[in-house]
């Protein structure tokens, strides 16, 4: 594969990976949503997992082609250690950081059965760190952001993820106590009050 082909592949898979990552985020945030008969709750989780796997695939190709392309200096170290490449150092570093966070989420999910529920939850929230970093990386690298359709695609991703997140926050704030608290675990609210002294008997 020539350098140009590698470069095109890097750009294309990067964009696709961003779209897939955004889709993964939306589906993940929607876990708390009302299940319908056409899309039961577990199906949403199943799709979320499959889209996440697809994201890994495209992200892997994106990383691979960017390293193999000798036209710019991105070595294997730069994949996981930020600020070690001379090419668009800062924006590339963001991509590296995004990969790091995303790997944390992916590996912890793969090993879910072997870690505690609390640990898994903690690592999974790294997803909320990986996505904005990935968006910043995509916009900052600047290769294709001149194209209006690319800009439009990235904007759509941002709107989808941010909108879904806002919806979930509003919904949980409004319905606290009314619905079975799948968002706020009853044990979490208990933990806040368990430290308080008991009343007089």
């Amino acid at each position: 594969m020539s350098s140009i082909d590698l470069w095109y592949t890097t750009r294309a898979t990067g964009l696709v990976a961003l779209v897939l990552l955004s889709g993964t985020m939306v589906l993940g945030i929607l876990t708390a949503g009302r299940a319908t008969s056409t899309l039961p709750g577990f199906a949403r989780v199943a799709i979320h997992r499959r889209v996440a796997v697809l994201t890994v695939v495209f992200l892997a190709i994106h990383v691979l082609t960017s390293v193999l392309d000798t036209y710019v200096d991105i070595n294997w170290l730069a994949v996981v250690v930020p600020f070690t490449s001379s090419y668009h150092t800062g924006w590339l570093a963001l991509g590296t950081v995004g990969v790091d966070f995303f790997l944390a989420v992916a590996i912890s999910s793969a090993l879910r059965r072997h870690i505690s529920a609390r640990a898994w939850r903690l690592w999974h929230w790294a997803a909320y760190l990986s996505w904005p970093v990935a968006v910043a990386h995509a916009l900052g690298m600047g290769t294709d952001t001149g194209l209006p359709w690319v800009l439009g695609l990235v904007s759509a991703c941002i709107t989808a993820v941010v909108g879904t997140a806002v919806w979930r926050v509003v919904r949980s704030a409004r319905s606290k106590g009314e619905l079975p608290p799948t968002i706020i675990s009853p044990r979490r609210s208990l933990r806040l009050s368990a430290g308080s002294p008991a009343g007089a008997k």
Partner: protein
């Protein structure tokens, strides 16, 4: 021979289990699972395993009973 059991303290009422295995799991008025006590029949075994795997809180378990 296996039965499906839930850890009520871990369960947060997501309800995925009742979607995957409606033949043996239904939800009460607050969304929490009511499990059938009987053994899981062979044709539902795969669905039961999926229900256990899909629980976001890992609250379900398939317990094997019967002769060792």
């Amino acid at each position: 021979m296996s039965t499906i059991r839930v850890n009520p303290a871990a369960c947060d009422g997501f309800g995925f289990c009742s979607e995957i295995l409606p033949e043996m799991i239904r939800r009460d008025e607050w969304g929490f699972p009511i499990l059938a006590d009987d053994a899981v029949p062979e044709d539902l075994r795969r669905a039961a395993e999926q229900a256990v795997a899909f629980c976001p809180r890992r609250a379900l378990r398939l317990e094997t009973t019967g002769p060792r």
